[in-house]
C-alpha cells in the first residue's frame, strides 16, 4: 500500500482566509465623513484635486472615474442607471453638455455656490443646476515631423482635405467630447453642411480612434499627420516629449470650441451637505489654477493665470455655443451618427 505524507492544510487555509482579511481590513477605516463623486475628467488630473480636498476637509472622497473603454458617457449612464437609488453625490463632467442629460431627467438638485460668483455668467446656469469651471478647448494636434510649417492645418475642415487622405484622425463621435464637438458643428453650420462635411471625412478616410487619448497616440507616433483632441491630451503629449504642435482651429472663422468642466449636485445623493462642500472646492479659483498648471485647462476667471504656452480665454476666438441647444442636438444626432460610424 502506498503511504503518502499528510498534506498540510495551512496553504489552503491561508488561500481561503486572505481574501476575507483583505476585504475586511480597509472597511474598518471607512468611519470618516465621505462624499461620492463620479467624474469624466481624466483620473490623472482629477484625482490630485480630490486628494487635496481630502487633506483640507479631513473626510474621504470616493471617486468613480471613466475608463478608456467606457469613455466620458460611462459615468453619465451609470448615474442614469442608478437614478432610482442614487449612489453619487456630485457629478464632475468633462464638458458642460452631458449634465443637461441629467437635468432633463430631473436627476439634479440646484446649488448656487457662493464661490462661483466670479465665474462668467455664460459658463454656469443662473439657477445653479450646473456650474462650469476650468475649460478645455478642442484643438488640432499636429505631428511636426510630418506636417511642414506651410501646410499647417488651420480649421477642422482641413481634416477632410484630400492632401491628408488617410492621415487624419478623430475620436469616435458616439463617445467622449467629440460627441459634443459634432453637435456644436451641427448647431453652427446647419444639418446639410455638417452632413456633407462628415461624408467628406469618410471619403478622406479619416481614422476613427476609440478616444482622444488614442488620437494623441496616433499623432505622436506618426501614424497620422494630425487629429482632433482636447487641450489636456496636448498637455500629455508635451509631457511625453512627443513631436507635437497645437493649433486652435478656426480662429479666422467660427472660433474654437471651449468646453468648461461642470460640477453638478446629484438629486437624492447620500451625502448632500458634503457634496456642497466638494462643489465649493471644485469651482474655486484655487482648483482652476491647479488644473491650469497640471492639465493645461483654461481658467474661466480672467484673474487666474492661463497655462504656460496656452492663450488665455480672452485671447482666443471661441465658438458661440448654447450648451442646452447643443445637448438637444447631441441626442437627436445619435441614430445618424451610429449609422455614420457603422454601428
Amino acid at each position: 500500500m502506498i503511504k503518502r505524507a499528510p498534506r498540510s492544510c495551512a496553504p489552503i487555509a491561508a488561500t481561503l482566509l486572505i481574501p476575507f482579511l483583505l476585504a475586511w481590513l480597509p472597511a474598518r477605516a471607512a468611519e470618516k465623513p465621505e462624499v461620492v463623486v463620479y467624474t469624466s475628467v481624466d483620473q490623472v488630473f482629477s484625482e490630485p484635486i480630490f486628494r487635496a480636498f481630502e487633506a483640507r476637509w479631513g473626510g474621504t472622497v470616493r471617486a468613480v472615474f471613466d475608463t478608456e473603454e467606457t469613455k466620458s458617457t460611462g459615468v453619465l449612464n451609470r448615474l442614469v442607471a442608478e437614478s432610482r437609488n442614487p449612489q453619487a453625490d456630485v457629478f464632475w463632467s468633462g464638458d458642460p453638455v452631458r449634465p443637461f442629460v441629467l437635468i432633463r431627467r430631473g436627476l439634479v438638485d440646484k446649488y448656487v455656490s457662493p464661490v462661483a460668483t466670479s465665474i462668467p455668467a455664460s459658463f454656469k446656469a443662473t439657477d445653479g443646476s450646473w456650474t462650469g469651471f476650468a475649460g478645455r478647448a478642442r484643438v488640432l494636434l499636429v505631428n511636426s515631423r510630418i506636417v511642414k510649417p506651410g501646410e499647417m492645418p488651420r480649421s477642422v475642415r482641413d481634416l477632410a482635405k484630400p492632401l491628408w487622405k488617410g492621415k487624419t484622425a478623430i475620436a469616435n463621435p458616439l463617445f467622449g467630447t467629440t460627441t459634443m464637438h459634432v453637435a456644436a458643428l451641427f448647431a453652427a453650420w446647419g444639418d446639410e453642411t455638417s452632413k456633407k462635411f462628415f461624408e467628406d471625412l469618410k471619403t478622406n478616410e479619416v481614422r476613427i480612434a476609440s478616444s482622444n487619448g488614442e488620437v494623441k497616440r496616433l499623432v505622436a507616433s506618426g501614424e497620422v499627420a494630425f487629429g482632433l483632441a482636447d487641450t489636456d491630451d496636448a498637455h500629455e503629449a508635451f509631457a511625453e516629449h512627443a513631436p507635437i504642435e497645437v493649433v486652435y482651429p478656426d480662429q479666422d472663422g467660427i472660433g474654437s470650441l471651449v468646453m468648461p468642466t461642470a460640477a453638478v449636485l446629484v438629486r437624492g445623493g447620500p451625502h448632500p451637505n458634503e457634496a456642497r462642500k466638494l462643489i465649493d472646492y471644485l469651482v474655486s479659483s484655487e482648483v482652476e489654477a491647479k488644473l491650469a498648471q497640471s492639465a493645461a485647462h483654461l481658467p474661466l476667471r480672467p484673474e487666474v493665470k492661463a497655462p504656460i504656452g496656452a492663450p488665455s480665454l480672452g485671447g482666443l476666438k471661441t465658438m458661440s455655443v448654447d450648451y442646452g441647444r447643443v445637448a438637444e442636438t447631441m441626442q437627436e444626432l445619435q441614430p445618424w451618427l451610429r449609422q455614420w460610424v457603422g454601428f
Binding site: 488561500t15 481561503l16 486572505i18 481574501p19 476575507f20 483583505l22 476585504a23 481590513l25 480597509p26 472597511a27 478608456e68 473603454e69 467606457t70 469613455k71 458617457t73 460611462g74 453619465l76 449612464n77 451609470r78 442614469v80 442607471a81 442608478e82 432610482r84 437609488n85 449612489q87 452631458r98 442629460v101 469616435n172 458616439l174 463617445f175 460627441t179 481614422r207 476613427i208 476609440s210 488614442e214 497616440r217 507616433s221 506618426g222 501614424e223 511625453e240 447631441m330 441626442q331 445619435q334 441614430p335 451610429r338 460610424v341 457603422g342 454601428f343
Partner: protein, 442 residues
C-alpha cells in the same frame, strides 16, 4: 440495507447542493437579464420599433457573422500554438520549462487592451520594429488576430497542460507496450495523450472563442468593426438604451447554443476513466534529437508572450512611470485581490457542485450550465447594467455599496469557466471512485 440508505442520502445531498447552486446562478445571472427584458418590454414602443428595425438590418447580421469568423480564427490560432506548447512544457524535458511556462502564461493576468498597446509600441509606424507596412498589418484584422491570438494562447496551453497532467500514466505505459519500438513518441502523443486531453482542449476552445468574441477595446483600438461595439454604443452613447442593448444580445443566445453543442459533442463522455490514482506522476518524455527544435519553439512562444509587456515596461521606465506607481496603485491592488479572491472561492464552490452535476448527468445540470455560458458570452457592460437595475435598491444597499456586488458580478460572468473546468476533471475520473468513497462514509 445500510449501503442502500447511504446511497439515497448521498443522492439527496447532491440534489440539495445542486439546487442551491442553481438558485445562486438564477440570482446572479437570470434575474439581471430578466430585469433588462422587463425594461425592454415596458419601455417606449418607439424603442421596441427601433430594436426590431435594427435586428432586421442585414448589415447587423453580416457584422455578427464577421465577428464570429474572427473569433473562430483567433481560437484556431490559439489552439494550433497552445496545444503543442502546453504539451511540451508539461510533459517533456524542454530546458527551463517551468520558467518558460510562467512567462508564457503571464499575459493571462493582463487586460487584452494593455497587450494591444504593447504591440503598438513594437509594430506601430514608430515602434521598435515598426514601419509603414507593419503599421498597415497591425491596424486591421491581421493585427487583431496577432494580439488576441498571442494574449489567449496561454489559456489554451495552460488548460492542455492541466489536462495532460491528469492522465493516468498506466494508460501511456499500456500504449507504449504496443507501439513500434523507438518510434512511440509521435503516435503516443497524437493518438493517445492529446485525444485523452480532448475535454480540456474543448474547454480551452470555448473560453478563447468567448473571450475573443466579446472583446471590445482591442477591436476598437485596431479599427476592426466588432459586434460587441454595436451593443456598447447603446450603453456608452449619449442616449442610454439598456433595453435595446439587451435585445442586441439575443442573437448571442444562438451563438452560445452552437458553441455549447460543439463543445459537448467534441468532448463527449468516455466509456473509461482517464484520471487514476497515479495521475500527476508521469515521467517526463525525453525528446532526444527533437529537443533543440522543441526548445526553440517553446521559448519563441515565451518571447511572443512577453514582448508587448517588455515594450510597455521599457516605455514606463523611460517616462518615470515606475516612480509614480505607488501614487496610482493606491488601494487598487488590495481591492482587486480581495474581490477576485472572494469571487474565486465562490466560483470554485459553485463549480465543484455544478461541474460534478454536469459530469454525472444530473437532471437540470445542462440547463444551468447553458445559463452560465450565456452569462459568459453576454457583453460585460450589459450584465453590469442588469446588475445595477437588480441590486441598486434601498433594501439591498448593503450588497450594492460594498464589495459584494463586484463578487456577484464576477461570479455571474465566470462561473461557466469554473464549472466546466471541474466538469472536465470529473469526467476524466471514474464514478466508481466516488461510490467507493461514499461506501466508507465520505
Amino acid at each position: 440495507m445500510g449501503r442502500f440508505l447511504s446511497r439515497r442520502a448521498v443522492r439527496a445531498q447532491e440534489q440539495l447542493f445542486f439546487w442551491a447552486v442553481a438558485a445562486t446562478v438564477a440570482l446572479a445571472v437570470v434575474l439581471p437579464l430578466a430585469v433588462l427584458t422587463g425594461q425592454l418590454a415596458a419601455g417606449d414602443p418607439a424603442q421596441r420599433h427601433s430594436v426590431l428595425a435594427t435586428l432586421a438590418t442585414p448589415s447587423l447580421w453580416l457584422l455578427l457573422a464577421r465577428s464570429v469568423g474572427l473569433a473562430i480564427a483567433v481560437t484556431a490560432l490559439s489552439l494550433t500554438v497552445g496545444v503543442p506548447i502546453g504539451f511540451l512544457l508539461s510533459r517533456t524535458d524542454v530546458p527551463g520549462r517551468r520558467s518558460a511556462f510562467l512567462l508564457h502564461a503571464f499575459p493571462m493576468f493582463l487586460p487584452p487592451f494593455a497587450m494591444a498597446l504593447g504591440w503598438f509600441h513594437i509594430l506601430g509606424r514608430n515602434g521598435a520594429f515598426g514601419s509603414e507596412s507593419t503599421s498597415r498589418f497591425f491596424f486591421g484584422e491581421s493585427g487583431l488576430l496577432l494580439v488576441l491570438g498571442a494574449t489567449f494562447t496561454p489559456i489554451a496551453s495552460t488548460m492542455v497542460a492541466l489536462g495532460v497532467r491528469g492522465i493516468d500514466p498506466a494508460l501511456e505505459e499500456a500504449a507504449r507496450l504496443v507501439a513500434p519500438p523507438g518510434a512511440w513518441k509521435w503516435p503516443l502523443a497524437t493518438r493517445i495523450v492529446l485525444p485523452l486531453a480532448r475535454p480540456a482542449i474543448a474547454l480551452a476552445a470555448l473560453v478563447v472563442f468567448t473571450l475573443s468574441f466579446s472583446e471590445l477595446g482591442v477591436p476598437m483600438f485596431l479599427r476592426v468593426k466588432a459586434y460587441p461595439a454595436v451593443v456598447f454604443s447603446r450603453l456608452g452613447g449619449i442616449d442610454f438604451q439598456p433595453g435595446e442593448a439587451f435585445a442586441l444580445v439575443l442573437p448571442l443566445l444562438a451563438i452560445s447554443a452552437l458553441v455549447l453543442a460543439g463543445e459537448r459533442r467534441w468532448a463527449a463522455r468516455r466509456s473509461f476513466s482517464v484520471l487514476g490514482l497515479r495521475s500527476g506522476e508521469s515521467p517526463l518524455w525525453e525528446l532526444g534529437r527533437a529537443r533543440a527544435p522543441a526548445t526553440t519553439l517553446c521559448w519563441l512562444a515565451v518571447a511572443v508572450s512577453i514582448a508587448p509587456i517588455a515594450s510597455l515596461a521599457l516605455r514606463a521606465a523611460r517616462g518615470q512611470g515606475f516612480s509614480s506607481l505607488g501614487d496610482w496603485a493606491g488601494a487598487g491592488l488590495v481591492n482587486s485581490l480581495s474581490v477576485s479572491g472572494l469571487a474565486a472561492i465562490a466560483i470554485a464552490i459553485l463549480g465543484v457542485v455544478l461541474g460534478h452535476a454536469l459530469a454525472r448527468g444530473l437532471k437540470g445540470a445542462a440547463l444551468v450550465d447553458a445559463v452560465t455560458v450565456l452569462a459568459f458570452v453576454t457583453p460585460a457592460a450589459v450584465l453590469g447594467v442588469g446588475l445595477i437595475a437588480t441590486w441598486n435598491r434601498p433594501a439591498t444597499d448593503w450588497v450594492y455599496r460594498g464589495r459584494a456586488i463586484l463578487v456577484i458580478a464576477l461570479v455571474a460572468r465566470y462561473t461557466a469557466i469554473g464549472a466546466r473546468t471541474i466538469a472536465v476533471a470529473m469526467a476524466q475520473g471514474s464514478p466508481h471512485l466516488e461510490e467507493a468513497a461514499a461506501a466508507f462514509g465520505a
